[in-house]
């Protein structure tokens, strides 16, 4: 991945871009490491000025706060890679949350059945999204926006718009008999011992494992490579024999499945199907994925960047909270970071790309 001009191959160095000046090199370094330096600087700053920020408990808290959005962001990253977009992830997650509560509390199903049903639902919604986009040619933003509305409405119909909790009164007047299984709740509440007792929550383990899997898939396998090819030039990718339709549908299915994983974790943490929660999931996840463009000068969707983007927002919010910044400034700060990251990505790397003829 290095861009240093070494080992001239072929006849001679080309006219364009024969040497980069020191200014060009500086720009290169700024694009590549700027965001990570900012992240590091922020950690140092908060460690010095916010008491209690530096420490394993606080670190784990940050991880936990970004775990669900991070998982959703990794899913949306896959759709960004193929040049698409998935706006339905937030409502897929809340639908999965409602479905899991409905399955256990009202239908009295086991945790395993519930989890499988939710994952299947996520994959199915992804499949429908993908088919809408590749078969009926509805533009990605519109198809997934439509799906978002559809799901937001659909998840309220079975309970007539109410949240689901153990012992709730059903529309027919009887009382729900089911409960959340302890195994299911442990996904949201159990903490593993790691250095300290009861340190690492299950959701953080999920985030790390899924993050590594998505990274390996996108960066190291040929499937990931071909998905990037589709995102860069769909026609060319098709003409080298890539099954564009299949990969695009697969990207939306990954996105839907990961969103339902996020929804399951949310349900396990809350212990109820809360109709009002999860409203911020979509925007936070998209922000993380887009901030990820700026990491390491990638200027394209990538799993590592997405994870860093999610972490960046988490650290910033946690640090500011500990320095007593009011909660209502949070969205402003997130938006500000996103805009800066986008400027970073598009203006600086455009300048880099424009340095040749």
């Amino acid at each position: 991945m290095e861009a240093t001009p070494d080992q001239p191959a072929g006849k001679a160095a080309p006219l364009a871009e024969s040497k980069r000046g020191s200014r060009g090199l500086l720009l290169d370094v700024a694009i590549r490491y700027g965001f990570l330096c900012l992240l590091l600087g922020m950690i140092v700053f908060f460690s010095a000025f916010a008491s209690g920020f530096a420490g394993p408990r606080s670190a784990v808290f940050i991880f936990q706060s970004v775990a669900i959005t991070g998982i959703l962001a990794l899913g949306v990253t896959c759709t960004l890679v193929v040049g698409g977009f998935d706006l339905s992830i937030g409502s897929v997650a809340t639908s999965a949350m409602m479905l899991s509560a409905y399955m256990m509390v009202i239908l009295e199903q086991s945790a395993v059945v519930t989890i499988l049903a939710c994952l299947a639902m996520g994959a199915f919604i992804g499949l429908v999204n993908g088919l809408l986009i590749v078969k009926t040619k509805v533009p990605d933003l519109l198809a997934t926006l439509g799906m978002m509305f559809l799901l937001l409405g659909l998840q309220r119909i079975p309970t007539e718009g109410r949240s689901i909790a153990a012992g709730m009164t059903l529309p027919d007047g009887s009382t729900a008999q089911g409960t959340f299984s302890p195994f299911f709740l442990s996904m949201g509440r159990h903490r593993f011992d790691f250095v300290l007792e009861n340190l690492v929550p299950v959701s953080v383990v999920f985030l790390i494992v899924i993050g590594i899997l998505v990274w390996v898939f996108l960066e190291l396998t040929r499937h990931g490579r071909l998905m990037y090819a589709i995102g860069s030039n769909e026609r060319a990718a098709g003409l080298i024999g890539t099954n564009v339709t299949r990969y695009k549908i697969m990207a939306y299915m990954i996105s839907g499945t990961l969103a339902s994983v996020g929804g399951l974790l949310l349900a396990a943490r809350l212990g109820r199907g809360d109709i009002a929660s999860g409203t911020n999931l979509l925007l936070d996840a998209v922000a993380a994925a887009l901030i990820g463009f700026a990491v390491l000068g990638a200027a394209k969707p990538n799993a590592f960047g997405t994870a860093m983007g999610a972490l960046f927002v988490g650290i910033l919010l946690q640090g500011l909270t500990m320095m007593n910044a009011p909660y209502y400034t949070q969205d402003f700060i997130k938006g500000f970071v996103l805009v800066i990251a986008l400027v970073f990505t598009f203006s600086l790397s455009a300048r880099r790309a424009g340095s040749h003829l």
């Binding site: 001239p8 191959a9 980069r20 071909l226 990718a237 098709g238 003409l239 024999g241 003829l357």
Partner: protein, 505 residues
């Protein structure tokens, strides 16, 4: 008629430490067509960009009709009278609007046009412009419905609305058929008679022979030869541009091997005539014809993008009917498509990844890509094809057009194939790179059948063992590329031969 229109003196331009133009001086007389030749990377596009206001020069001066000319933006250049028609035709027109709006769009952008559109006035004005240029198009047609040639003429007609002193045409015929190019040339001659200076940039010798009054060669940012007079020394111009003598392409046609792909009584679309064609091992077959003659349809049928309408195709004696490019590649039939920027180049990938993209399943196992092996292949191909680059991890966009084309060829040469189809492999490629590509195709042709689709006859003669002429989606004539009667080929291509002659040919 020989007044000076534009004088460029001592112009320098550098990007970083890279000096692209070095004290370049050039005069462009009014009413003459000056052809500018230069290899990829010689600085032609930079010169055009300076004249059209995209870049500013570092040093030197330009005068236009004895007045200093230093445009800061493209629109200033246009207002001063320098109009450029770019290579990429779609930059010159807005497909969603109709012809009238396209012809008048610059006026709409001017201050003082008024807030509301006057549709009737627009159509009247547009008709006037179209009539002045002998354009026979209904101005209410959306541009999206027009062919490439008409779009090009519209872009030029729009340019003419500014009454330019200098018209720059950057590779205007690269997507045009011979007949369409002739329309363009007639238009250029008309402008020439009106006293417009024309700077014509092209790699195509046939165009330059047809239209140029003088030929200017450019190399490494300098003018290295001006050729004019009644007998222009075209070979000298090419030598000057390359910096060395161009060797004639000289080869003996090798004996073809057994047929690899056979098309029997194939009909490409409903209503077209059937034809049969054998593509043999160790043979390079060139299919040529006008735009829309069915060359692309043939390639698409063989590459699994659209089935043949009727008839049978066999590959190594087995029935061959691929349903997708994926299946075609799997059976060893490769296609390098035309218009590489939109159909072939994966802009976000580096050179190595561009080359290996179709064959990732052959690098590494369990779907994991072995990057070391990938880069090794890329390095070998870079050496093989003399691709000018820093290394195999260069972004594909940093390469010149000719070298990008070589990468696309390397992509399909990196693995053995049964049939290699090359659709317009010399598009936007300078003559040096063109010879390199031709040599490489010939040198590797032994183990496979090779099918090359070109619309330029010069290119066909340079590469072919056998030339097949297409017309109306069928093969109408076939020539062995030996002591070939160029006029007979030309007649077949333009369809001026009668049906009976074609059958006899």
């Amino acid at each position: 008629m020989s007044d000076l229109s534009c004088r460029i003196s001592n112009v320098d331009k550098a990007f970083g430490e890279n000096r692209v133009l070095r004290k370049l001086s050039l005069d462009l007389p009014a009413g003459r067509v000056t052809a500018l030749m230069g290899a990829n990377g010689a600085g032609k596009s930079t010169l055009v960009k300076i004249l059209s206001g995209v870049h500013a020069s570092d040093h030197g001066s330009i005068t236009l009709l004895d007045r200093p000319f230093a445009p800061a933006t493209p629109s200033q250049a246009i207002r001063a009278g320098v109009v450029t028609v770019h290579q990429n035709i779609n930059d010159g027109v807005i497909p969603d609007l109709d012809v009238a709006s396209n012809l008048l769009v610059d006026r709409l952008a001017e201050r003082g046009y008024g807030f509301m559109l006057n549709r009737r006035r627009m159509i009247r004005d547009a008709r006037e412009i179209a009539a002045g240029m002998d354009l026979d198009i209904d101005v209410r047609t959306p541009v999206a419905e027009l062919g490439v040639a008409d779009r090009q003429l519209i872009a030029i007609a729009r340019a003419m609305a500014h009454a330019p002193k200098l018209l720059i045409l950057d590779e205007p015929t690269s997507s045009l058929s011979a007949a369409e190019a002739e329309r363009l040339f007639q238009l250029i001659e008309k402008l020439q008679a009106q006293g417009v200076a024309i700077l014509y940039i092209s790699h195509r010798m046939s165009d330059i022979r047809r239209i140029a009054d003088r030929v200017v060669s450019m190399r490494d940012g300098e003018i290295c030869g001006v050729f004019e007079g009644p007998d222009i020394d075209y070979e000298g111009a090419v030598d000057a541009m390359l910096g060395h003598r161009m060797t004639e392409v000289d080869f003996t046609i090798p004996p073809p091997g057994a047929p690899i792909v056979s098309l029997q009584d194939v009909r490409l679309k409903s209503g077209s005539a059937t034809f049969s064609l054998d593509l043999c091992e160790n043979e390079i077959v060139v299919v040529t014809g006008l735009l829309g003659a069915g060359k692309t349809a043939l390639a698409q049928a063989l590459f699994g993008m659209a089935p043949v309408y009727d008839g049978t195709v066999t590959l190594d004696s087995d029935r061959y009917a691929p349903r997708s490019p994926n299946e075609a590649v799997g059976s060893g039939v490769f296609l390098s498509p035309k218009d590489r920027a939109s159909n072939a180049v994966i802009q976000d990938f580096n050179l190595a990844r561009n080359m290996t993209a179709p064959f990732l399943d052959r690098y590494g196992r369990l779907s994991f890509v072995d990057r070391r092996q990938e880069r090794r292949t890329a390095r070998a191909m870079i050496g093989d094809l003399a691709i000018v680059c820093q290394g195999e991890v260069d972004g594909i966009g940093t390469l010149s057009g000719g070298n990008q084309q070589k990468v696309m060829l390397a992509r399909w040469l990196s693995q053995p194939s049964r049939l290699l189809i090359l659709d317009e492999p010399f598009q936007g490629v300078d003559i040096g790179a063109r010879r390199d590509i031709g040599h490489k195709i010939r040198a590797t042709a032994g183990e496979r059948a090779t099918l090359v689709l070109v619309s330029e006859l010069d290119e066909a003669f340079e590469i072919a063992d056998r030339i097949v002429v297409f017309h109306d989606h069928t093969a109408i004539a076939e020539f062995r590329n030996e002591n070939i009667d160029m006029n007979a080929v030309l007649a077949a291509v333009t369809g001026s031969a009668t049906n009976a002659d074609r059958r006899a040919a």
